[in-house]
Structure formats: C-alpha cells, structure tokens
C-alpha cells in the first residue's frame, strides 16, 4: 500500500462520513414515519427536494442569507411533508398498506414533475457556507462546508432526540409508535401525532436537501432520486424504525460509497453499495439495530 493510496483511503472515508450525515438525516425521516405509522413514505426524498427549492426561491428572489435559505428549505419541506400526509396517508384505508405506499409513489412522481416543470430542469446555484474553507491535516483535507453540513446534521439529530425524549410530544410520538391503540385510549390524538411526525420528518428532509445542495453548490431535480434511494438503503442497513440505526447506516453508506469509488471506480461503486443492501436483506433483514418487537 503506497503512501498516496493510504491518504486517499483516509480522505475518502472522511469525506464519506461527513457527507453521510445527509443520508443519515434522510434515513431518520424514513424511519421516523415508519416507526410511528408502520408505513413507508416513498415521496419523502422528493418532498425534501421540493422544500429545498422553496429555499432556493427565497435566495433567488431576495438574495437572502444562507441561514435564511436553509431555514426556508427546512420549513418548506416540513409543510410539503404535511401535504403528503394529508394526500397519501390520512385518508387512505389503514388496513391496506399498499394504498398509502402506492399513493406515496404517485406523489413522488407528481412532486418530481412539478419541480422539473417549475425549474425547467435547470441547475441553479444554491448558497453554501465555508465553501472555500479547508482544514489541512497533513495531506488530508477536511472540507469546511462538509464540516458545516456534518455540524448542521448533528444539530438536527440532537434537536430530534430532544423532541422525542424530552417533550410531551416526543412521549406521545413514542407511545403511538409502540402501542397506537393504547396511546389512543390514554387520550393521545394519533392523527395529530402522525401529522407532527410528517412535519418533523419533512423538516429533517429539508435540512438534508439543503445540506446536499449546499455541499454541491448547485440544486437540480436529479438530486431527488439519489435522496430517495440512499434513504431507503440507509434504513434497510440501519434497521427500519431505528433512529440510531439510520445514523449509523447513513455514515456507513456515505463512507462505503466513497471507498468503493476509490477502490473500484464509479461504474462499479453502486454495484457494491447495492450488494451491501442485498447482504443485509438476506442475512440481517432487520438491519443493524432493527428489532423484532411487534405492536398491536
């Protein structure tokens, strides 16, 4: 192993871990919704992207500060998350899981098309912070903007944990997640909890979308599919319904992607990431942190 290869390996791992936090956030969004409703929202990545575009509009129209753009992206994505809930989950029969799943697929395509039509498919510059900042540790460069992305994602996760474990809303959410009927009998408004979950997951998705666009410096509709696919891989690896699993899964996928890119090239990179997914589905279908716990 020569020196440059060793440096490349470290560099790829560092970049992958930092960027992997955006995957982790998307994974958390998927897993949060699944944890509470036991349903997959496949429109989640597209809603996150659409929210990011709301931030972009603010940026283009008012030349707004990046902080405001990120905030608008997160709130916009949260609002779209609520719309997705109302359109695809609220009124679909709960005893036919396929109904909401397919409705969310339809919503994914719908949101995607709306974004493409509105943007004409053009890439637009998206504000980033610390874009040119580099921390040099020997021959390894740590990107300032990726560190910021990492920091933002960690903050978002910390806020989520605080919400879930330190507030009455979190208590209600966990109660609905574990025993929805019992929670209802205790007077918890399940519909409200579901809505809040979609809103919070949407905000996390908006942060992930904003951070992805900020890391690239450009926003394009092509990002949506990547967010959806990576998010799903993350939850399978981490364990559907497990928030720590989504975090570890996101970091793992981010690092694996970069290392496979280094070792096998771009054309084979995704093959190995998909192979990882296949291995988990076959040998450990519950993922790293999934549990077999059932609910009523």
């Amino acid at each position: 192993m020569d020196y440059f290869f060793f440096i490349d390996l470290i560099q790829s791992t560092v970049d992958g871990l930092l960027f992997g936090t955006t995957y982790a956030l998307i994974g958390i969004g998927f897993t949060l919704i699944f944890g509470v409703m036991r349903k997959l929202n496949l429109a989640y990545g597209a809603a996150a992207l659409a929210g990011t575009y709301i931030g972009l509009v603010i940026y283009l129209m008012f030349d707004a500060h990046p902080a405001l753009v990120f905030l608008a992206s997160a709130i916009g994505s949260g609002a779209i998350g609520l719309i997705v809930y109302l359109c695809c989950f609220r009124f679909t029969p709960s005893d036919y899981p396929m109904a909401s799943l397919l409705a969310s697929v339809g919503m994914l395509l719908f949101i995607d098309e709306v974004v493409i039509h509105a943007s004409h498919g053009l890439p637009y510059p998206y504000p980033s912070v610390f874009r040119d900042a580099i921390i040099e540790v020997g021959d390894v460069w740590v990107r300032g903007d990726l560190l910021f992305v990492f920091f933002m994602c960690v903050v978002a996760m910390a806020v989520l944990f605080w919400l879930l474990y330190r507030t009455p809303l979190g208590l209600a959410t966990r109660a609905v997640s574990q025993q929805p009927r019992a929670a209802q009998l205790c007077g918890i408004d399940v519909t409200r909890v579901n809505m809040m979950t979609f809103g919070i997951a949407g905000i996390l998705g908006g942060v992930a979308g904003a951070m992805t666009a900020a890391a690239v410096g450009v926003l394009s509709p092509v990002i949506a599919m990547g967010l959806t696919v990576k998010g799903l891989i993350v939850v399978v690896i981490g364990g559907l319904g497990s928030i720590p699993g989504a975090i570890i899964g996101g970091l793992l996928v981010g690092a694996a992607e970069n290392i496979f890119l280094l070792l096998r090239g771009v054309t084979e990179r995704d093959i190995y990431v998909m192979l990882l997914l296949f291995i988990f589905l076959t040998l450990r279908p519950g993922g790293l942190f999934g549990n077999a716990q059932t609910r009523d």
């Binding site: 890439p123 580099i134 990107r143 394009s220």
Partner: protein
C-alpha cells in the same frame, strides 16, 4: 340557373380560392425531451421550431407543387429522453399527416429509434418505418448511417474538437498534459470524451495524464478532483452536462485545481451552465455551432426568445431544420394532400439526401452523403456570466 346567380357564384368561388389555398397546411412534427431533467433541450427546440414556422408563415408559407401556398403547422411531442417513448412517439407521428419529424434530443433515444427505420430505401425485404427524420439535437457522431431515412443537422464534434485542440496547441505551446473528466452514464458525454476529445487531444500532442469519471446524479466529486489536483494537468477537459459540470468545477475550485486551459462539452455552452455556476465556469472554452455573431443569428435568437426559448447550438439546428425543410418542400414539389402523403414523405427524404450545401445561421452548412452535416462553428468562452466568441476559425 340565372346568369346573375352564376356570375355571383363564380365571383364567390374565385374569391374563396386563395382562401382555400391558404387553408392548406404542411405538418412538420417535432419530438424530443421537453420534460424531465434534460427537458430544457426539447423546450428550446420546440420554441425554435415554432419561431421559424411563424417567420415562414408570415412570409406567405411554402409553395406546393401546384403553385398554391400552404402554411406550416408544427406540434412538439415529448419523449422524456426515453428510448421506448421515443420510438412510440415516432410511430405516433408517422400515423399522422406529418411529412417529416425533427428530433430527437437524446443520443440514447436516437440510436435505437433510427434502428426501427428502413435501413436502405427501396429495400423490399426491410419492413422498417419509412419516414424521414431530421435530427436537431442528438449529437453523438455517426448515427445517420443507421438508416437512409435519417438526416442530421448536428455539428461534427470530431471536427470541432480537433480544431479546438489544434488552436489550444498553437495558443498555449507550453501546455503538454491533459486530464479528462467524463459523465460516465450519459451516451453523449461518454462518446465525446473517449472518442472525440481524447483522440483530438492526443493527435495534437497532449499527453493524457488521467481520467476522472462520475455519474449524472452524483453530488460528491472530491475523489475525482483530488486525482486531477495531483496530476497537475495543463488542460482539463470536462465532458459532462451542466449539473455535474458545475459540481465538478466547484470541487476543482475548492481543491485549487487551476489548469491553464479548461475545455467543456458542446452541450454545456448553454444558459444552464451559466445559470448554475457562472463564476466557476469563467474561462471554460467550448466549440459551438451557434453564437449570435451576425444579424440573421441575432434575429433568430430574438425570435426564439420571444417564444420563451433560448437559441443555442442545439435549438439553432431546429431553427435551421425548419428553414431547410421549407426549401426542400418547395424544390421537391410536395403536393400536400392526404392522397400524396407517402409520396411527399419520400420526396422530402430524397430532397434532403440530394442536398450538398444549405444556408445555416453561421454560414454554409455542408450536407454529407451519409446524412450528416459539417457546420461552421466558433469557440466561445464564459466571460462575466455570458458566452463570448473567443475565436472564429472561419474568419
């Protein structure tokens, strides 16, 4: 019938005759990607076709075989840059009264789509579709050879890049090495780097010191840019579409990759690149077969802008195609009736095949026997958020 009634009827009939002629229409269909992530190409082509048709119709339309005038009508069909949809769209167009189709946008659609057309005209054993297609955008080289019903008005990238690298060699004699960056999963980008840019660069004495690959949906380019930084190339050539071109350029700037010369893909000499990353794209040199360098080109650009589109090297071809088809329709004696539909399509095919030179927006376009074109071109570079002509090899 009374004489007065007969005279009145005759006068009315005579008065109505030109109006009836004016009602005649010639249908030229357009098709390509007008939705999806490359939808802007089709939208621009559709606007260019509509603007060209409006100009022709304002000048009186086209003259048919019987001397009457007909207006051109056009409709743009969306294939979403998908091969199966492209084939389906072309079959649908062929079932209408359209005489010819202009399109498609994507080379990955063009290649299989041309395969469903009859390969050789008058080959009774070949039951392929007999319908003329005049391509404006799909630029991957050599595709017209697939069928004699296919004609293309796309620039020859091989010629353009060959001359570009010759010019770079001349203007930057101390530049010795080149590093390529390619969007590996897009037919045009791939073909242009491996078969066009790389070949041309090597032919002019540049040593290829590395290649970086990425995919259309990629968002992280740090590994690729690191390889570039280490190789310290004099020239970097990026064969990718605007989204990843912008991503890569940003990463290069971040990692301080500063080549003496930066070369881009023909399709990136568009508004998209400037919208996405004008600062990072500053100085990138791209050969293109369109720039508003003369009155006709500027007038066409304005007309297309009025239709909500932008004229670039691709949509300019759509404009030119309509103008060329007008001349072919008039020269070939197209009748424009329902009964003559098949015959008229064949006349257009033969008319296009017989062309050796046509007028384009930048000057004379040579029509080659294999259905391809050799078009005039210029080298543009991004300067202060605009594409400026850097060098005009024809001047």
């Amino acid at each position: 019938m009374k004489l007065s009634t007969l005279i009145t009827s005759s006068v009315l009939a005579l008065a109505a005759a030109p109006a009836l002629a004016q009602d005649k229409t010639i249908n030229i269909a357009g098709f390509g990607a007008s939705s999806g992530v490359v939808g802007i190409f089709g939208q621009n082509s559709g606007a260019a076709m509509a603007a060209a048709v409006e100009k022709i119709n304002a000048e009186g339309g086209v003259t048919l075989a019987d001397g009457s005038k007909a207006m051109i009508v056009t409709e743009y069909y969306d294939d979403r840059c998908n091969a199966e949809e492209g084939i389906s769209v072309l079959r649908r167009i062929a079932s209408t009264d359209a005489l010819v189709a202009v399109g498609p946008t994507c080379s990955n659609v063009a290649e299989p789509l041309f395969g469903i057309l009859q390969a050789k005209v008058d080959d009774a054993g070949d039951t392929g579709l007999q319908f003329p297609v005049f391509t404006d955008v799909a630029i991957k080289g050599g595709l017209a050879g697939i069928s004699e019903w296919v004609f293309r008005n796309t620039p020859s990238e091989a010629t353009m890049y060959d001359n570009l690298f010759a010019w770079i060699r001349e203007t930057n004699p101390d530049a010795k090495t080149i590093y390529g960056g390619v969007e590996e999963d897009f037919a045009h980008s791939r073909f242009t780097w491996y078969s066009v840019m790389k070949t041309a660069a090597e032919a002019h004495g540049f040593e290829v010191v590395g290649e970086a690959q990425w995919l259309l949906n990629d968002t992280n380019f740090s590994n690729q840019a690191r390889g570039m930084r280490r190789a310290e190339p004099d020239v970097v050539a990026i064969s990718a579409h605007p989204f990843t071109t912008c991503g890569m350029l940003r990463e290069m700037a971040r990692q301080r990759v500063e080549p003496k010369v930066l070369v881009g893909l023909t399709s990136s000499s568009s508004l998209e690149t400037l919208t996405g990353c004008a600062n990072e794209a500053e100085g990138i040199i791209i050969p293109t077969s369109f720039a508003p360098v003369n009155d006709a080109a500027q007038e066409a650009a304005d007309a297309v802008a009025a239709k909500g589109g932008a004229l670039d090297l691709h949509s300019a071809s759509a404009w030119e195609n309509i103008m060329i088809l007008r001349d072919v329709i008039e020269a070939a004696g197209v009748e424009g009736t329902a009964a003559s539909l098949e015959e008229d399509r064949r006349k257009i095919r033969d008319g296009l095949a017989a062309l050796t030179e046509v007028n384009g927006l930048l000057g004379a376009n040579k029509r080659m026997p294999d259905g391809e074109a050799v078009k005039p071109y210029v080298f543009v570079d991004a300067e202060n958020g605009k594409w400026e002509v850097l060098h005009n090899p024809g001047s």
